[in-house]
Amino acid sequence: MSAKSYPGSDAVKANGWFTAHKWLIARRVSQFTILGLFLTGPLFGLWIVKGNLTSSLTLDILPLSDPFVLLQSLLAGHIAADTALIGAAIVLAFYALVGGRVYCSFVCPMNFVTDAARWLSKRLGLSKGWQPSRDTRLWILGAVMLSALGTGVLAWELLNPVTILHRALVYGAGYGATVALAIFLFDLVVSRRGWCGYLCPMGAFYGLLGRASVVRISAVRRDDCNDCMDCFAVCPEPHVITPALRGADTGTGPIVISGDCTNCGRCIDVCAKNVFQFDMRFHNDLPNASVSDESASASTNRHAAE
C-alpha cells in the first residue's frame, strides 16, 4: 500500500511540500495579516487600519470601501460622501486587476470557516448534499439589491453573515461565532461548499467583477496533464477548470476565464505536472495548436499560427 491518496500528494513528491502548498500558505498569510491589521488597534493601541471591511481607513490616509455594500446604500437612496466613493473605486480597481474573487480567497473572513467545513467533510467522507445551480447566488445578489431598492435601507446588511462575522472579529460585537457556526454546519451537513459555491451574494458580486479581471489562472502546460484529477478535487469551483484544461480539442484557450474562479492558486500547488500558473487574461491563445480541422470556432490566433 502506498501512502498516496490525498489530492496533491503527487505534487508533494514531485516538487516538495513547500512548493506544493505555496499558494495555500500565501492565502492564509494574507487572511491572517489582513485580520491582524484590523486588530492591532483594538488589541494593542497600534492603529494601522481602522474600521472594518465595509469601510476602513489605513494609516489615517488610505480609504477603502466595499462596493457591494455601497451599491446597496446607493440603491437604498443615499449617495455616499467622496471618501467612501473613492474607497470603493480603489477596491474595484484592485480586484479588477488581481481577480474579483481574490476577495473570497485572500480576504474574506468567512473563508476560514468554509475551508474548515470542507476539510472536515472530506475527513468524514460526507456526501455532497444539496447542489443547486451556481447561478443561485446571482439571483440572491439580485434579491439583495432589490430589497435595498424596495425598503430604502440596507436590508441585507441586517443578515449578511460575512459582514456580521468580520464586525464581530474586529469590534467584539456578539454573535459572530453563532453566524460562523451556522455557515460551518450548512457547508458540512447540508451542502458541500454550499455557502460560497451557491449562495453568498458577496462572492457573486465579486465574481461578476472577475468576469473582466486581468490576472487569471492559466493551464498553460495542459498537454502535460496526466488526468490525476487533483486540481478538480481541491478547487472550490471545479467547473471553471474544465474549459481551460480540456479545451485543446475544442479550440478553447488555456486561461481559466470564468469569473467564478477565486484565483486561490491551489490548482497550481497540487499539480505535480506544473500545468497551471498565474497569467493575464490576454494570453489566451493556443500555443502549440494541434488543432483538428473541423473545429468550428477558429480563433484569429490560430489562423495566424497556421
Binding site: 437604498a76 437612496g77 439571483w139 439580485g142 434579491a143 430589497s147 435601507v153 436590508a155 446588511e157 460585537a173
Partner: protein, 262 residues
C-alpha cells in the same frame, strides 16, 4: 432522428430553460420580500438608543450608514458602540445609551469627521446644533427638585446650561412658604447628549433622553394660537367682534376665592 425531433427537443429545452429562469426569478423575488419584511421589522429603534451627532432621520440613516464603525473608533470616549444581534438596534449601526455613557459633545466632533459616507452629516460643525434626541423630565413624582429639594444635578451637568435647560421657580404648595425649582428643557436648544440622564441621582432616572420623534408633540398644521396671531397682526384679533362667552366657575369655589366675581 432528423430535423423534427431535434427541433422538438430544442423547443423542450428552451421551455425548460425559461421555466428555470422563471423559478429562479420567483425565488429571488420571494427572498427580496422576506429580507425586506425582516428589515422593516428590525429597523425600529428602541427608545433608549440614541444615534451619534449628525445622524439624520432613522430611515435615511439606515440607508446611509454602512456599519463600518469608524465613528466608534474615533470617539475619544466609550460612548458609541456598534449594535450586535442581541440588541434591538439594527445590526452593525452605531448608537449610545445615555444612562450608560452619554455623548461628551466634543468641540471638533471627531465621529462626524470619521464618517466616510456622510451618514453623519458633515455640515454639522457646531456640536451645540446637534440633535441626537430630546431630554424629557418624565417623572415629576420622583424628581427631587419637584419635591422642593435642591438636587439640580441634571441642570448643572448640561453642557448648554441655562439655554437648553433652566430652573423655573414656582410656589411650593406643600410647605406653602418655599419655592420649587423645576428643571425645564427647551426643545429648540437641547442637543440630546444625555448627560442629564446619566447624572440623575435617582435609582432610575427621572429625566431621560429620547429620540426626538418620541419626545415631542406636534400641533396640527391648521391650529392657530390666538395670541400669537394677534401679535403677528399688530395686536388685531384674527376674528374681531367675536362673542366673548362667560367664564364658567367651578361649582365649589375654594375659600380664597369666596366672593370673587369674574
Amino acid at each position: 432522428m432528423g430535423e423534427q425531433s431535434s427541433s422538438h427537443s430544442s423547443a423542450q429545452s428552451r421551455r425548460r430553460f425559461l421555466g428555470n429562469i422563471a423559478r429562479a426569478a420567483g425565488g429571488a423575488g420571494a427572498l427580496a420580500l422576506v429580507v425586506g419584511l425582516f428589515a422593516r421589522q428590525a429597523q425600529t429603534l428602541p427608545a433608549q438608543a440614541l444615534r451619534p451627532p449628525g445622524a439624520g432621520p432613522e430611515a435615511d440613516f439606515l440607508a446611509a450608514c454602512i456599519r463600518c464603525g469608524l465613528c466608534v473608533r474615533d470617539c475619544p470616549y466609550p460612548t458609541l458602540s456598534l449594535a450586535d444581534m442581541s440588541s434591538d438596534v439594527p445590526v452593525g449601526t452605531p448608537f449610545f445609551v445615555a444612562r450608560k455613557v452619554p455623548c461628551e459633545m466634543c468641540d471638533d466632533i471627531p465621529c462626524v469627521k470619521a464618517c466616510p459616507t456622510a451618514a453623519l452629516d458633515p455640515n454639522l460643525t457646531n456640536i451645540d446644533d446637534a440633535d441626537m434626541g430630546l431630554a424629557v423630565l418624565v417623572d415629576e413624582e420622583t424628581c427631587l427638585n419637584f419635591q422642593g429639594l435642591r438636587c439640580d444635578v441634571c441642570y448643572r451637568v448640561c453642557p448648554v446650561i441655562d439655554i437648553a435647560i433652566t430652573l423655573e421657580i414656582s410656589h411650593n404648595t406643600r410647605t406653602k412658604k418655599h419655592a420649587v425649582f423645576i428643571p425645564t428643557v427647551h426643545s429648540d436648544k437641547c442637543t440630546g447628549c444625555g448627560k442629564c440622564e446619566r447624572a440623575c441621582v435617582l435609582e432610575t432616572a427621572a429625566i431621560r433622553v429620547f429620540p426626538r420623534h418620541l419626545a415631542k408633540g406636534r400641533i396640527g398644521e391648521h391650529y392657530r394660537l390666538g395670541w400669537e396671531e394677534k401679535a403677528k397682526h399688530g395686536g388685531e384679533s384674527l376674528a374681531p367682534g367675536l362673542v366673548d362667552l362667560p367664564d364658567r366657575l367651578p361649582d365649589q369655589l375654594p375659600d380664597a376665592l369666596k366672593g370673587w366675581k369674574p
